[in-house]
Symmetry: C2
Subunit: 402 residues, 2 copies
C-alpha cells in the first residue's frame, strides 16, 4: 500500500476530545494497510494567545524570536496526538520541523520550504509506526526556527506528500469540501466534487480561505492529489483538487468575495510609453503585491491607472507613490477603501463568452454599480460598494447556480 498524508487544522485538534476524535480518521487509514503521516496545526487559539502575549511585550517583535515563540503551538499538538494514539494501542512518533528536518529559507514568518529530509519518516513507516509532523514550521540553514506564515500547515502537508511521493494528501477541515461560494453568506451553495488547482488558486487568493495558496501551488507543481474533507463527518467525500476536471464539470466553479482591498488610482499620468511600467516596477521593487490593474485612456494626452492592493499595504503604497509623484509624471493619487471585490472563477469562462454578460446582468437587476471590471481566462472580477457586496455575491451566485 502507499503513503497517505493527513492534515488537521487548529479547530480539529482544539482539545483532548477533538484529538481523540481525529484518531479515528488516522486509524481508519492505518487499518486499511496504508502508511499514514499526519500533519497538525496548533490547538485552537494557542497561536493567537501567544501573539496577544507577545504584543504585551512589543509591537515590533524580532522576527527570529517571533518564530521561536509561535512554533511551540504545533510542538504541543504533535506530542499530545502521539500520546492519544499510543493510548489507543497504536505506535506513533512525533517530529518537529527541525527534527526531520524541514529546511526553509530565512524569511522568518513567511519562510518557503526548500527541502524535506524524509529518512526518519520512511524508517518509522517501515517499522509500522504512524508518523506525526508539526505543521507550519521549519529550520533554516543556520539552525534557527522558521515559520511558514498563517495557514502554513497546509503547505507542510502537501510538501510532505510531494517529498514522500504519497498517494494523496487529505486536508481535514470544519467544512466538508469546497463550495461554490461562502455558505455563511449565501444559501443553497453547491459543494463541488472536484476543482482544478488553477481554480482553487484563484479562489484561495480571492478570500475563499479553504486552502492556503502556496499548498495548492505545490500540489499543482508536483501533481499531488489533494482531498478537502470534513473532520467532523464520518463519511465525508469532500472535494478533490486535480489537474483536469471531468468534462461534465460546471463551467463556473465558484463565486468569492474579498473585503480587504483598497483601490488606488493614479490620475493624470502622461500618456507616454514606459509610464505604466515605471509605476509597477516601483511597487514591485518595494515588494508590493498588486492585483487587478485597469488602465483607462482618459483624455488623449493623459491616462489614469487603477489597481487594488491588500488593505494592510495601503499606507505603504500611498507613501511610495506620493514620494515619487513627479518622477512618475502623475498629477494626483487617490484611493478608496469602501469597495469589495467579487470574483467568479471557472476554467470554462474562457470558452463561454456569455459569462461576463450574465455577471453584469445580475448586478444590473439588483441596481448595483460596478466601479472597476477586470477579466482573465478563468476569472471575472468586479469592484462594488462594500455595503452592497453581500447582495452582489448572492446575485451573481444565484444567476449561475439556481
Amino acid at each position: 500500500m502507499g503513503i497517505i498524508v493527513q492534515k488537521f487544522g487548529g479547530s480539529s485538534v482544539a482539545d483532548t476530545e477533538k484529538l481523540y476524535n481525529i484518531c479515528k480518521h488516522i486509524i481508519k487509514e492505518y487499518n486499511k494497510g496504508e502508511k499514514v503521516v499526519v500533519v497538525v496545526s496548533a490547538q485552537g487559539k494557542t497561536t493567537d494567545r501567544l501573539i496577544t502575549e507577545e504584543k504585551e511585550i512589543t509591537e515590533n517583535p524580532n522576527p527570529r524570536e517571533h518564530d521561536c515563540l509561535v512554533s511551540v503551538g504545533e510542538q504541543i499538538t504533535i506530542s499530545k496526538l502521539a500520546m492519544c494514539l499510543k493510548e489507543k494501542g497504536y505506535n506513533a512518533i512525533s517530529y518537529t520541523g527541525w527534527q526531520l528536518p524541514i529546511i526553509t529559507d530565512s524569511v522568518y514568518g513567511g519562510a518557503r520550504i526548500k527541502y524535506i529530509e524524509t529518512e526518519k519518516i520512511n524508517k518509522q513507516l517501515e517499522m509500522g509506526n504512524i508518523v506525526i509532523v508539526a505543521g507550519f514550521q521549519g529550520i533554516n540553514e543556520i539552525g534557527d526556527i522558521t515559520t511558514l506564515g498563517r495557514g502554513g500547515s497546509d503547505t507542510t502537508a502537501v510538501a510532505l506528500a510531494a517529498a514522500l511521493k504519497a498517494d494523496r494528501c487529505d486536508i481535514y477541515t470544519d467544512v466538508d469540501g469546497v463550495y461554490s461560494s461562502d455558505p455563511r453568506i449565501i444559501e443553497n451553495v453547491t459543494k463541488l466534487d472536484s476543482i482544478t488547482y488553477d481554480e482553487m488558486l484563484e479562489l484561495a487568493s480571492l478570500g475563499a480561505k479553504v486552502l492556503h495558496n502556496r499548498c495548492v501551488e505545490i500540489g499543482k507543481n508536483y501533481e499531488v492529489p489533494i482531498n478537502v474533507k470534513s473532520t467532523f463527518e464520518n463519511n465525508s467525500i469532500g472535494t478533490r483538487v486535480l489537474n483536469h476536471k471531468d468534462l461534465e464539470a460546471l463551467y463556473v466553479t465558484g463565486v468569492a468575495k474579498d473585503d480587504n482591498i483598497t483601490r488606488v488610482t493614479l490620475i493624470g499620468l502622461e500618456n507616454k510609453i514606459g509610464r505604466t511600467y515605471k509605476v509597477f516596477k516601483l511597487l514591485s521593487d518595494n515588494k508590493i503585491n498588486v492585483d487587478t490593474i485597469v488602465q483607462s485612456a482618459g483624455e488623449h494626452t493623459v491616462k489614469n491607472i487603477s489597481f487594488t492592493v491588500k488593505n494592510t499595504e495601503t499606507k505603504k503604497v500611498l507613501k511610495i507613490l506620493n514620494e515619487n509623484l513627479i518622477e512618475l509624471g502623475a498629477k494626483e493619487i487617490i484611493h478608496c477603501d469602501e469597495l469589495s471585490k467579487i470574483s467568479i472563477v471557472g476554467v470554462g469562462i474562457v470558452n463561454n463568452p456569455g459569462v461576463a454578460s450574465k455577471v453584469f446582468e445580475a448586478l444590473y437587476e439588483n441596481n448595483i454599480n460596478m466601479h472597476m471590471v477586470s477579466t482573465s481566462e478563468i476569472k471575472i472580477s468586479v469592484l462594488v460598494n462594500k455595503k452592497e457586496a453581500n447582495l452582489a455575491l448572492k446575485a451573481i451566485h444565484d444567476k449561475f447556480y439556481l
Copy 2:
C-alpha cells in the same frame, strides 16, 4: 571582563511585567562590561498546565513525547525575554537546548547533561550580544528532546557556567538567599552569607528546596562560585555557595524538615554476614534511593534494619521486599508514614561533639520523642512524629540560633 551566568526561575518570569523586571538585573551586569548568559525556566505555571492537559489524555504518557511537550515552556520564555531586551535597546539572542546543543543521555524526564557546545554562545558574546538559553532541556544523540527533571534549570545554569568557565553563576529566586531554616515555619531565621557545596547538598536533599541537588554537585565538581539572590530586591547580597567557608562561620549552617518520607523496617532478619548487603543490593537494583539507614542488633540471633525512603517510593519498596521476604531471611516488613525527618547540617558538626546532645536536649525540653537517629560528619537527622515536626524544627533551630 568575564562571563556571568544568571538564572531566573518560573516565578521570576511569570508575566510580561516580571520579564521586564529581570531585564534590569541583566542590563546591570551587561553595563558593567560583563558578558552575560541568561538561563530561564518556563513562566509561572506553564509546565503545570501542560501536565494537567497531558493527564486528560493519559496517565502513562510516553516519556519521549512527554519531554517534547513540556519543553515548550522554556522556549516561550527565551523568545519573549529576547524581545524584552531588544525593546529596551539591548541585542539579545535566544537558544533552545537543541540549538546549542546541550547533549544529554536518553533518560527522558530526568536526563543528565553530557556535553554543552559553547561555540554559538561564545560567538554571540564576542559580538557584544546577551545570550538567553532555555533551562531544563537538552537533546539526546538520536535528536530527541530530553528534559532534566523539575528544577533542572538550576542544573542547566551551573553546567553552562562550568562549560563557559564563567566567573560565577547567579541563581535569582524569590527569597534573598539560603536561610538557617524554613522562614514559613520559623521566625527569626538567619540568612547565611555563605555555605559550602556539601552543606548545600545536604540541605537541598533534606527539602530546603533552594537549589536543585544536581546543580550543587556540578558546582562542587567544577568549582563554580554560585550566588543565590533575590529577583525582587534591587541590592540583594544573597548567599554564596563555596568550597570552603570563612573560619568564623557558624558550625551549624541550617536546620531542615522533610515530611515526605516513610520509615520501613525489616524485622527478625537473621544476624548473619551479608544479610544487610542483600537487602540494599536488592533495592539498589530496583533503582530505589534509600536514606538514613539504622541497624539495631536486637536479640543475639536476629536483627532489625530500618531505613527511610521517599513517600512516592513506598508502595514499590514494600512490594519488592515482601516478594523477597524468604530470600532475604526476614520475618516481617513494617512501615510508618506518620514521621518527619529533622536534620541539622554544618561542616562544623564533626569537630563539635556537643551538637548531637544539644539536638537531643532541645527535643527533650519540648517532650518530643525521637523514633530514629542517624549522624554523619556534617549532619544529624532524627525522626519525630509528623504532628510534632514543626515544634521540633523550631526547638532545634532556636537552640543554635537564639
